[in-house]
């Protein structure tokens, strides 16, 4: 009852001359429909939670994803039936979106997955911006509380816009488009960003009186802000950035839920917000850096510290595929350590072929996966799964590190910083404290690498000069093909 009075009051205030009785009738009708809708939304929310729960094990994951999709279908159907939907617009929009989504999902290569997720994050963000925008333009707001709806619209506009342009820049960097390749920042960009954030927040608070022009000014500034925030961040930190933007896209959806008074948006948005934050945290820990450091500090390759010559001179032992094949004769346990270089060389399939050959001789083969081995959380696992590597052979860092001492040969392919022992031994190094894979504990380490050039951290790797380390120089795919041939000839 109070609701109805409030709505009439709002309409009267805005000078709308709708017959009071008719408006009340409409509200009552909407109320009974919304009970039905809300029940459907509750079912959808439960399915989302059960869907994510399914992702806690590879065995149940496919079903989990389907549960999530079913939840989404129910939410959409309930809305189409119960809400006031313009059917031609809905059908046209869904048709275009379905075509685009299907195309993206079917054409993307697994190495491009980070870009795609970034792009989809951006789409989710801009959708929230548009929903809040359409709501702001409405003459009679859906939500009872104008101040809350206004503030939520402001937040949806701010977070969603930053997510949109930030994600586009991140996707461009991950795709290695030349325009985005170099971290770029205006002089004094920290101050500019701080001012822009302050202005958008003030506009957000101003939104509480519910005016539309502020919303569009706010989103315009926030779109620029998204670009400014992500351009200075280097390509190697993109895993953190997309995890964080993943979280933002959820928060924007939640905020949009407050704008239109919709529970399922609030719940689903909160779930995604939590997921993104957890993954962001995991990625930061794996690089031993704080989130603030990733977002606002430039990662400077250190100039001091030992030079390449001091570390490597006279200590590098180069080997050949044939020698490695002999060395692998009679071994019991081999651990493969893949880095992103392996994916760049498209060598996943040949690695699996090598592993199958060794396994046929009774060798145990496992894969040691560092959390930042790929370009996004869990990326390397997907790349190896694509090459038919069974998931129970993929071992996490904490699980496999204590077992390297019982390993006959560790084969490092296209990885560098994540196996650099300096992280444990030199507190002044730029990667000090970063958790690494202790491959040096293995009886023999074979490093497949193009050259001795440094990794992202820009420092030499004493592992390469260690007594038990052999360097197998060359393109990963080429070298491994020769190794597989040599193993077959043996």
């Amino acid at each position: 009852m109070f609701d109805i009075l409030l709505k009439q009051f709002v309409m009267a205030e805005q000078g709308l001359e709708k017959p009071v009785a008719k408006a009340a009738e409409k509200v009552a009708e909407v109320a009974s429909l919304s009970e039905f809708s809300n029940l459907g939304y509750l079912v959808a929310s439960v399915l989302f939670i059960m869907g994510i729960k399914g992702l806690t094990h590879p065995r149940t994951a496919v079903r989990g994803n389907l549960l999530g999709a079913a939840g989404m279908l129910i939410a959409v159907l309930v809305t189409l039936v119960g809400g006031q939907v313009s059917w031609p617009v809905a059908i046209a929009g869904i048709a275009v979106g379905t075509a685009a989504g299907t195309w993206f999902a079917n054409t993307v290569q697994m190495t491009q997955m980070p870009q795609l997720v970034a792009l989809f994050n951006g789409f989710g963000g801009i959708a929230s911006v548009l929903v809040a925008g359409a709501e702001v333009l409405r003459s009679a707001p859906t939500s009872g509380n104008i101040a809350v709806a206004g503030l939520a619209a402001g937040l949806a506009g701010l977070i969603g816009s930053v997510t949109f342009t930030g994600s586009l820049v991140a996707a461009g960097k991950l795709q290695e488009l030349s325009q985005f390749k170099k971290p770029f920042s205006l002089p004094g960009h920290q101050i500019i960003n701080a001012v822009l954030i302050a202005v958008t927040l003030i506009l957000c608070l101003n939104m509480m009186d519910g005016s539309a022009w502020e919303y569009f000014l706010l989103t315009t500034i926030a779109l620029v802000l998204g670009v400014f925030l992500v351009t200075p961040i280097g390509g190697a930190d993109m895993p953190v950035v997309i995890a964080l933007l993943n979280s933002y896209s959820g928060l924007a959806a939640s905020a949009a839920g407050f704008v239109i008074n919709n529970n399922v948006l609030i719940v689903a948005g909160a779930l995604v917000g939590a997921s993104g934050i957890i993954l962001t945290n995991i990625m930061c820990k794996a690089m031993n850096r704080s989130l603030l450091n990733v977002l606002f500090a430039k990662f400077e390759p250190s100039a001091d510290g030992p030079s390449d010559d001091e570390v490597y001179a006279g200590k590098i032992k180069s080997t050949s595929p044939e020698e490695v094949a002999m060395l692998l004769d009679g071994v019991q346990r081999v651990v493969v350590v893949p880095g992103y270089g392996l994916a760049v060389a498209q060598a996943q399939h040949i690695v699996r072929e090598m592993a199958t050959l060794l396994e046929s001789e009774g060798v145990t083969v496992e894969y040691a996966i560092h959390p930042v081995a790929g370009r996004m959380p869990g990326h390397m696992n997907v790349l190896l799964a694509e090459a038919d590597v069974p998931y129970d052979q993929l071992k996490e860092m904490d699980e496999i590190n204590p077992t390297f001492s019982q390993c006959d040969a560790a084969i490092v392919i296209g990885a560098n910083d994540v196996v650099n022992p300096v992280a444990n031994t030199d507190p002044s190094s730029p990667i000090a404290g970063m958790p690494i894979l202790n491959v040096g504990d293995a009886r023999t380490v074979i490093v497949v690498k193009r050259s001795l050039s440094p990794g992202f951290a820009g420092i030499p790797n004493p592992l390469f000069a260690a007594d038990n380390c052999l360097m197998l120089f060359g393109d990963a795919k080429q070298v491994l093909m020769e190794l597989v041939a040599a193993l077959k000839d043996r």
Partner: protein, 89 residues
């Protein structure tokens, strides 16, 4: 629904999310991201209800397109990835 009810739902959902998601193994973190990403396309519900007048209708239409791309693409690509995860025979 008042603001407190909304906030209650939000906060409880965050806690549920944290409890469930911390149990997802690193092997599945990429599908988790793309799958949760698809779930954040729930804005589609809001997009379907949005729009009044020409400008509002345009914004609503664009919102439906972006959100549907997000939802369909997200669930499909997650399915494609998960189908590749196999146990050792």
């Amino acid at each position: 629904m008042d603001i407190i009810t909304g906030l209650t739902i939000f906060v409880l959902a965050v806690f549920v999310g944290v409890e469930v998601i911390t149990k997802v193994p690193p092997t599945l973190h990429t599908p988790l991201m793309s799958g949760s990403n698809a779930i954040s396309g729930i804005t589609l519900v809001g997009a379907l209800l949005a729009g009044e007048g020409f400008l509002g209708g345009m914004l609503g239409f664009l919102a439906i397109v972006f959100a549907t791309t997000n939802v369909i693409g997200g669930f499909l690509v997650t399915h494609r990835m998960l189908a590749m995860f196999k146990k050792k025979k």
